[in-house]
Symmetry: C2
Subunit: 107 residues, 2 copies
DNA sequence: CAGCATCCTATCGGATACTG
DNA sequence: CAGTATCCGATAGGATGCTG
């Protein structure tokens, strides 16, 4: 994928945050509310747990989502959008609209 | 990069069009007007000609840019945005603003 | 349940040299 | 000038199995 880690261009900087096989979908699901690890996994098959973990970690590292681990067994971890994550909604909405109108509509 | 070729999600569909190491920059330069191959290359070092060709081909295949080859030697090829490419400007502007405010500002 | 460890492959971006 | 043709290394994403 795009290696935009060294981004000096603001567009590329934004791309680096949201490009990733499942990140857009994760952000979209979390926009609806707090979700558990398993809930996210089941809504976007056939993602593997390893990859989901990776994407979640990157989103957390970038400050877009928050991870809350509840004590006790069985384990229970909840993910939700941070304010920064929520602030992306405008951008994601624009991208979604453009994609619907210009890509998905074509076929 | 993100493998969003099989995108069913409109956001991922849009991502598939603009994610790529240099695509955002290329689109940005072409937004200012028609540019020749060499002009684009010189404005974004140190891109290699092979990679630039690839990115331009993908952008053309996706209908975002237009390639016009003028007859005669030396060769002279001009690239410009199509209407579809121009229609992306809103999205790119949002991404640029968000990146400036939330990523580049942090350091 | 929510990971981590390991291994594997496809793809991407890049370096370099050659061509019409 | 504007590409092709090769070769290469890094890495993103995935399959599978184990663990607290």
């Amino acid at each position: 994928m795009a290696n935009n880690k060294d981004a000096t261009c603001p567009i590329a900087a934004t791309l680096a945050y949201i490009s990733g096989r499942w990140k857009a979908a994760i952000l979209h699901h979390l926009a609806a509310g707090t979700r558990r690890f398993g809930e996210i996994a089941v809504r976007m098959p056939p993602i593997s747990k390893k990859v989901l973990t990776q994407q979640l970690k990157e989103l957390e590292r970038d400050g877009l989502i928050r991870r809350v681990q509840n004590p006790g067994a069985p384990m229970r971890v909840e993910y939700s959008l941070t304010d920064l994550g929520k602030s992306l909604s405008t951008v994601l909405k624009e991208m979604s609209d453009w994609g619907k109108a210009n890509v998905l509509a074509k076929k």
